[in-house]
């Protein structure tokens, strides 16, 4: 268990290209077939007791993984603590709500607009606040998340506390239907988005922005001395994370066909952040594992429904105390730098 991450990496390093491609295709195929897992007797343990299993795979599981990956760019890669990530989710959701009900744009056309809106919000929030010290940034982002919710709650033209009902579902695309009974189609959309984000993060990590984020996370002062324009890269990281949150919001709104302020509370931000830290900050696969576990388990143990948040709290404390770097922590080499910084 301790070196699961390193073992996986070693195995991967040992493969040649065709082997890797085959592995990835098989893995994606298996994940894509997950919604059918509830239908067969030998995999029926996956079924969730109260909500439909296919629906759970879309929200919360898929959505949480998507948002956790987005937040991981901000928190895990560049070390900026964002406690108001739900704001971007809400902005995406409300963009879909407003444009979907008042214009003739369909979900696929709204998706880039929602991402853009969230990104602009990220830049507007980031430019002034990313100069701040870490803890202050945490509290300002927390405040921003609440402000977005309160503004939605108090603005009559976007439905105030009742929110926006009857948001259209995506149109039939490539013969795939999207409506309330076809949860599987939504799952595939979310899966494609997740794959795109994974691809994007992998590209960024080996290029200039990734190196800049790594430098900023490990030691800001040194990064400045080495000529990294830290504010620019922080704003980039922040707004890319925001765009992913916005995308999740758009898909979420068109799936539930309804958005309301009480869907976007501080608890969601905390949950997403927990996915990131629980799984292993900075390590994409850890974050995915964290997202799957934290989203799926509460649904699976819904028979103790009243106490599931309590169990969640206890689990957070236990895991953080036993494995402070998360279930699948990042590489040792990177951790060494972080430990040095913490020890100062």
């Amino acid at each position: 268990m301790v070196n699961l991450r390193d073992k996986g990496a070693a195995l991967w390093e040992g493969w040649n290209r065709p082997k890797r491609v085959a592995f990835v295709i098989i893995l994606i195929g298996l994940v894509g077939l997950l919604p059918y897992g509830g239908d067969f007797s030998f995999t029926s343990f996956l079924n969730t007791p109260i909500s439909s299993y296919q629906a759970v795979l879309v929200y919360p599981v898929g959505m949480y993984v998507l948002m956790a990956l987005g937040l991981n760019i901000v928190v895990g890669k560049s070390g900026l603590l964002d406690l108001g990530y739900v704001a971007f989710f809400a902005i995406g959701g409300y963009t879909a709500g407003i444009l979907g009900t008042r214009t003739h744009l369909n979900t696929w056309e709204i998706l880039p607009i929602g991402m853009g809106t969230a990104m602009i919000a990220g830049v507007l929030l980031g430019l002034p606040t990313l100069r701040l010290r870490g803890d202050y940034l945490a509290i300002v982002t927390l405040g921003f998340g609440e402000i977005v919710r309160i503004v939605a709650l108090n603005t009559q033209s976007i439905g105030a506390s009742t929110g926006i009902p009857s948001i259209p579902t995506p149109p039939k695309t490539f013969g795939i239907k999207f409506d309330i009974v076809h949860n599987t189609s939504y799952f595939w959309v979310v899966l494609i988005l997740i794959l795109l984000v994974i691809w994007m993060i992998r590209r960024f990590t080996v290029r200039r922005p990734g190196r800049a984020w790594e430098a900023i996370r490990q030691d800001e002062d040194v990064a400045i001395l080495m000529g990294v324009p830290i504010l620019r890269y922080k704003v980039w990281s922040f707004s890319i994370g925001a765009a992913v949150g916005g995308a999740a919001g758009v898909i979420f709104a068109s799936k539930t066909q309804y958005v309301a302020p009480n869907m976007f509370t501080f608890n969601v931000s905390v949950l997403i952040l927990s996915c990131v830290v629980f799984g292993g900050m900075g390590n994409m696969w850890g974050v995915i594992l964290g997202g799957v576990l934290l989203a799926y388990l509460p649904e699976r143990i819904r028979f103790i429904s009243n106490a599931r948040q309590l169990v969640f709290g206890i689990a957070l404390v236990l895991i953080m105390n036993l494995r402070p770097d998360g279930l699948l922590p990042r590489k040792k080499r990177e951790k060494l730098g972080a430990a040095k910084k913490a020890g100062e």
């Binding site: 945490a138 952040l273 969640f312 953080m320 105390n321």
Partner: protein
């Protein structure tokens, strides 16, 4: 927008702002002192406050057996009862705070791991406490029996000051004064200040770090418990998530005054309380939280060390 209300209601708003602000001051001490020694946000402080409000209800209702229909208490008996309830509330919150430190921070601190892990562990503790209470109370608001008959104590120039407002202002100011004296004058207070200046050096000087940190949490918890008691005398109802908004406001107050700075928290709390009262009178109560955060963001942008940040070094925790 209604500006005339500020002119018409100037004095009543001022009195309310003082009372709310002083409650913020007390809660923000729980944030600012812990931040001083640990350099971490005490995320569970809002839950420590919540525990205090429930302790007040339980002691009033179940131990003293007061009901909402009981005969009003007078004189010595009233004062003694209130003091006992205050002490109980402080005790419950103080013990909770010490437990929070043990559960959420101690082990991680001794390992010297990353700050985010501590933060998540504190968030987890906070969820644990509030969910526990939510399940026990079935999410329902819980009222406390009224002990103080709410009469107008004095009337100055047509402005009435109610007995509960008066009680809040006087006791909160007194408690703050005591904490301030404690931190500046006693040996333990000196140790707390030393740890907040430099953990390493104070260890070399023979300060028992774990004891000082526990003591800081205890004091923060006691003061937050007192705030909970005072809050209950005015608002008389509590619910499992009562601490959330108050905690955020109190944290804002702490940042306003420069986090880690005890006297700063005093000015920060008062400024925020007054600002909030006038602002919500002008633009409507539902925007209260927004005004609080706008103040926070503006302060952090222009004075990142808080309004009273580095000026009062002497009383820095």
């Amino acid at each position: 927008m209604n500006f005339s209300v500020v002119v018409n209601q100037f004095w009543p708003l001022l009195i309310n702002g003082l009372a709310v602000g002083l409650i913020y001051v007390l809660i923000s001490l729980g944030y600012t002192m812990v931040y001083g020694v640990l350099r971490l946000i005490n995320f569970a402080n809002s839950e420590i406050f919540m525990v205090g409000t429930f302790a007040t209800v339980i002691v009033t209702r179940d131990i003293f057996k007061f009901t909402s229909a009981h005969d009003a208490l007078h004189g010595f008996k009233l004062v003694a009862t209130l003091l006992l309830i205050l002490l109980a509330s402080m005790l419950f919150s103080g013990v909770t705070a010490v437990l929070v430190e043990l559960v959420a921070y101690r082990r991680l601190r001794s390992k010297g791991t990353n700050r985010l892990a501590s933060l998540i562990s504190a968030i987890g503790t906070s969820i644990m406490i509030s969910e526990g209470v939510r399940i026990l109370t079935k999410s329902a608001p819980v009222p406390t029996p009224r002990l103080l008959t709410k009469f107008n104590l004095i009337s100055i120039g047509g402005v009435d000051i109610r007995i509960d407002t008066f009680l809040v202002i006087i006791s909160a100011a007194l408690i703050f004064f005591m904490v301030d004296r404690f931190v500046t004058k006693t040996l333990l207070g000196k140790a707390i200040r030393a740890v907040s200046m430099s953990e390493e050096t104070s260890k070399l000087m023979g300060v028992n770090l774990n004891r000082v940190i526990s003591a800081t949490f205890l004091i923060g918890g006691l003061v937050t418990g007192a705030a909970a008691f005072l809050y209950m005398q005015v608002y008389e109802t509590t619910v499992f998530n009562v601490g959330f908004n108050l905690g955020l406001a109190a944290f804002t107050a702490a940042v306003l005054g420069g986090i880690g700075n005890i006297r700063g928290a005093f000015y920060g709390g008062l400024t925020l309380g007054l600002f909030e009262q006038y602002a919500s009178a002008i633009i409507g109560g539902q925007w209260k939280a927004v005004t609080v955060f706008s103040v926070l963001v503006l302060v952090l942008l222009f004075k990142p060390n808080g309004l009273f940040g580095e000026a009062i070094q002497q009383s820095r925790v």
